[in-house]
Subunit: 230 residues, 2 copies
DNA sequence: AATTTCCATCTTGTATACAAAAAATTTGAC
DNA sequence: GTCAAATTTTTTGTATACAAGATGGAAATT
């Protein structure tokens, strides 16, 4: 009988070099060290990471699949940062996916998860009060992760996490907007309230507004993009 | 100045061997030649395709990313067909994504696209009348592709196409259900009607019911799975 | 007899070597 | 001086060689 050995990713599992390089490169691209359009030279990277071209190529293929770089056959791989249009599209999809999570979660969520959401929100509040932006991002992510999980759909959860990670650096810029943090917190609370009432449509609408890029956020996003492209 | 050379995938572009192998393997897995849990031996595949291990490994990594196989470090790669639960989850996400497309399309769709949808439906009808299942699948896919496009969100469109392709073989089994084809056609027409009226919520609900696995479809899906796993 | 340890073998992961295609540079003609 | 063709150089794609971890079985110990 086939064992239920799915999702048994032991934390301490030593990964191969290609995986580590992929993670490292992902970080370098997302943090802006490699600008949009920059070519990623295999041999340079191999020297930089002190490995052969093989694991570097493997890492680049991974990044190509996740959309961070574009691989043009026999030409090389190039950093492919989303432009303004694509970014807005991605945020729209994120908003809709989270809205789906909220709607599904409204009837599936556990009491435990509800209190977890409250707890995450409380820690978010503390972080805001302490001007601890890193802490805020961490708890914010936890809040959203709980929501994804409570959709009761593991596949949806994974897809949401994937897109959340992809948008992480841009979200960071977005939240710089003055006064966004308290507003964001209020939105979190409205979402939890709707979930407690079991009102899926209200929860969905609330989180759609929470995630979507609109009004003020739009200008900040554009400004940050211009800055990143310089 | 950076050129607008995005999405210029010329059809005649000669692809590298690894790409061809990835496609071939994908087909073999989806058509069931390689059953769930089967190990894909690098050297065997290299011999089979008469290439070295390098392009085979590249292809396997690609399949690993798209979820068709699972790569366990230093153990090998194994075919990873979704189980019943995961499959239901994927169909649920597909239904929700298409519902989002419908809701967005309701206010963004062009007259041209509406007539294209009518045309695709007409050809679907013809295929049903002619018992031409292959033709039906083709036109059905076109119908859905138009809808994705009319969401006005290129990123969403791509994600939908990705999942649609992934579910293709299972959808095939699902539509075997007796009397499903006429019902499916009626649903298509209801969707177009809602879109014409610009009623996003109705269109979303219609397509959600169209795609979701429920009632009869559930049993057929389970039966087909049992058959595929033998 | 059962279990554990060690060794042989096999498989994956990485390094290097080679081939082919694209980019760059040089050279030649006009 | 400019443009174009050809050669050189660089870089990607593939093959092979090597290293390290995993599997399986045999031998030794309890």
């Amino acid at each position: 009988m086939r064992a239920e050995n799915r999702c048994v990713y032991v934390s301490g599992m030593d990964r191969k070099r290609a995986d580590l390089i992929a993670d490292e490169l992902e970080g370098l691209i997302l943090e802006g060290t490699y600008k949009d359009g920059a070519r990623l030279d295999e041999v340079q990277l191999a020297e930089r990471f002190e490995v052969s071209r093989t694991p570097v190529r493997e890492a680049l293929q991974r990044l190509s699949q996740s959309g961070l770089v574009e691989q043009i056959p026999r030409r090389g791989v190039f950093v492919r940062q989303p432009g303004p249009v694509e970014l807005l599209e991605m945020f729209e999809v994120m908003a809709e996916l989270e809205a789906v999570c909220a709607r599904l979660a409204a009837s599936r969520i556990t009491d435990q998860a509800l209190s977890d959401l409250h707890a995450a929100n409380a820690r978010c509040d503390e972080a805001v009060a302490a001007q601890d932006t890193d802490g805020y991002y961490l708890e914010n992510e936890r809040f959203h992760a709980i929501l994804y999980r409570q959709s009761g759909n593991g596949f949806l959860e994974q897809e949401c996490l994937r897109l959340y990670r992809r948008l992480q650096p841009f979200r960071r810029m977005q939240l710089r907007a003055r006064g966004r943090l308290p507003q964001s917190m209020a939105e979190h609370k409205a979402i939890v309230t709707a979930l407690e009432k079991g009102d899926g449509e209200v929860a969905a609408a609330a989180i759609r507004g929470h995630v979507a890029v609109q009004g003020e956020k739009f200008h900040h996003l554009m400004a940050s993009l211009k800055h990143a492209a310089e």
